[in-house]
């Protein structure tokens, strides 16, 4: 078993590769921090995991251990094997420059779309081609009249979600830099990542 550990700096992004059979753990190091997560296949076709297609397979906004995250062709890409939080979002698009400029009048703010695109440039033609994200640890409760409540994560320091990787992927994670509205407890913190590869068979 070999293990790789990375830390995503608060408000920044990180891109990494995982292989079929790996175990991918994403950790909310200090708690109350959303981690936008996207993945693209490394089979040359560049298929993307899709919250919309996953929602249809699960007929639910939410996912739980045993469920898979699917790509746009309805193929399972990752299986959730452990989740110490149980609350994630697969609904809100990545914050981008316009989230800050249009909604809050702030120019030049760090944002998830640019964080995700930074490492995915070799795979994508423009930032607008970045897949829709799964927002791990983000909390978007449904109100009785179908509205989205804008609120902070329930995650505590060290909370984690663990995936079995089902196909070779390039993944990107952004520690969401949103520090204006509820979403990260008004304080942006790092995200830790651990990738465990199974021991190679000795031939």
């Amino acid at each position: 078993m070999s293990t790789r550990n990375f830390q995503v700096e608060a408000g920044h992004g990180l891109t990494f590769e995982v292989n079929q059979g790996d175990t991918l753990t994403i950790i909310d190091t200090e708690g109350k921090q959303a981690a936008d997560f996207v993945a693209i296949t490394r089979d040359g076709r560049g298929d993307r995991i899709s919250p919309t297609h996953t929602r249809k397979r699960l007929m639910s906004l939410f996912f739980k251990p045993g469920d898979c995250l699917y790509d746009e062709k309805d193929r399972p890409m990752l299986r959730i094997v452990e989740d110490t939080v149980g609350i994630h979002d697969a609904n809100v698009p990545a914050c981008d420059a316009t989230r800050f400029s249009v909604d809050f009048g702030v120019e030049g703010h760090r944002n998830c779309l640019d964080n995700l695109y930074e490492g995915l440039k070799p795979y994508l033609s423009t930032p607008l081609a970045v897949p829709e994200p799964f927002n791990l640890f983000q909390n978007g409760p449904v109100t009785s009249d179908g509205k989205m409540q804008v609120t902070d994560p329930t995650s505590r320091p060290g909370d984690r979600i663990v995936f079995e990787v089902l196909t070779n992927l390039v993944c990107a994670v952004s520690s969401c830099p949103q520090d204006i509205i509820p979403g990260n407890g008004l304080e942006v913190t790092p995200i830790d990542i651990t990738i465990q590869a199974p021991a190679k068979e000795i031939l």
């Binding site: 007929m59 081609a129 829709e132 179908g146």
Partner: protein, 199 residues
């Protein structure tokens, strides 16, 4: 008096009414200019209109995901702005005789194929195919996040009408959606006009 059409008047002349029929299992495009009204009408009971819209720069498109977060709503209601993936209002749901639409589910393979064929016909090749706005689709959402398709209540003649705020090429698909209760196919009627009196 300065109304929407007076404000766009210096930019373009008043345009004649347009009408396009989308046949069952097909998709059709219709161009709508800023200030015009777009009406999408069901030709038979239970049909779904899978709606896509591309601006002059096709990487900027109608975005169901940004539309949800723009109004902090999982469901589409009258008066809501439907926005682009750059968070600019593209159209407003101004009239709605149905009251149930879906903002959460993806295009079926049939919808995606029809979208791609229609886009190619009108010379559109976006970097990423957007997810649809599923007009007339009836899916209940419970507070635990569960999605429950219900029989659609749409009848022939039911329609939605929207004021369009950005020049847009819309593509509307009348295909099976692969969602329970929503595989009835039929025609859809698309009409574009400057004023409600023209419908």
């Amino acid at each position: 008096m300065l109304l929407m059409n007076d404000t766009v008047a210096p930019e373009r002349t008043r345009l004649p009414k347009q009408h396009v029929t989308v046949l069952a299992n097909e998709a059709r495009a219709i161009q709508v200019r800023r200030g015009q009204l777009l009406r999408i009408e069901a030709g038979s009971p239970g049909v779904v209109a899978s709606l896509f819209g591309f601006t002059e720069d096709p990487s900027v498109h109608l975005s169901v995901h940004h539309t949800r977060v723009f109004s902090n709503s999982y469901v589409l209601g009258k008066g809501m702005r439907l926005v682009t993936n750059r968070r600019r209002p593209l159209m407003v749901l101004g009239q709605d005789s149905v009251g149930h639409h879906d903002l959460l589910l993806p295009a079926s393979p049939q919808v995606l194929d029809a979208l791609k064929a229609c886009a190619a016909e009108v010379g559109l090749s976006p970097d990423k195919w957007p997810d649809p706005i599923n007009l007339f689709m009836n899916v209940e959402l419970d507070q635990r996040g569960g999605l429950h398709p219900q029989p659609p209540r749409t009848q022939a003649g039911d329609h939605v009408t929207s004021r369009v705020l950005i020049d847009t090429t819309f593509i509307v698909c009348a295909c099976p959606t692969d969602v329970e209760h929503h595989d009835q196919v039929g025609t859809l009627e698309l009409t574009v006009a400057e004023d409600l009196s023209e419908f």
